[in-house]
Subunit: 136 residues, 2 copies
DNA sequence: GTACATTATTGTATTATACAACTATATCTG
DNA sequence: CAGATATAGTTGTATAATACAATAATGTAC
């Protein structure tokens, strides 16, 4: 009973959150470009297939996002010497700079929104969010 | 320092969450239709302007969503007797049924995803999510 | 070496959204 | 009260992120 009420709340608030954090640029990176660049930076160079699997997106989606990042000079496409079909997408220095700028802007923004939360609340929220995402 | 790390995590995980909870139908209601119907049910009949303000959406967006709900028979459009331009969108019995089905399906799904969380974790997460949404 | 599998790209469609233009009605002001 | 302005709502158009289908190029296995 109590639990059901809580689930209702989480469910509605997640739906609302989805709209609230709708696409918004911070610096030169929109959300999807930011996530892809973050992923390449955090987990290392990879091809679109691997990146698509990690992020649970379709390869075609990642392919386009990767092309856009390359176009902006934030990643370079390195041909796989052992497989003529495959490439490795590697973050550039410019990409690292841009990612940092964007990350800072995003962290500032969320930091402002939750400025009244206690350190413990922030920590728990980060942990629960992460657990939720890992479960999907 | 610690705090910065936490903000980084929240910021990335929110972005990831946004993708994970991408549009998905539960029953006959997609996310936006569900939210609008929920809003009408929870806060009562209203016109598109008021609904748009409450939900921080453009009136044109709500106008289309409202038309879709009406088309499916989940809301009826009642002309405002004191203002020839205005309507009030009222949820129908069918709309209530459909909302309940959708809400249950969504709550079941999120309940399954967080089935291993303690009751306290669920409660805190619900509370923090709500606070975050109210701050935007 | 032919058939099948895999990596990536490109074409097309969908969904949610915003902004701008417009219609019809309401209110205000001189 | 008549013309000007404001307001509620709809419709046209654009954009972004996505998926699925078709295709091209290359690799692998029998």
């Amino acid at each position: 009973m109590m639990d059901n009420q809580v689930l209702d709340t989480i469910e509605v608030e997640l739906a609302i959150l989805w709209r609230r954090i709708a696409n918004r640029k911070h610096g030169n990176l929109d959300r999807s470009a930011y996530l892809l660049l973050h992923q390449i930076d955090a987990y290392g160079a990879a091809g679109v297939k691997a990146l698509a699997e990690e992020s649970h997106l379709d390869v075609s989606t990642v392919s386009r996002q990767a092309a856009a990042l390359e176009h902006k000079g934030y990643v370079t496409r390195i041909p796989d010497p052992t497989d003529g079909r495959a490439y490795s997408l590697q973050i550039t220095e410019q990409g690292k700079r841009e990612l940092l700028i964007s990350k800072q802007a995003r962290a500032d923004r969320i930091g402002y929104l939750i400025r009244d939360w206690t350190g413990e609340e922030k920590r728990i929220f980060a942990e629960l969010l992460t657990r939720l995402n890992r479960t999907f």
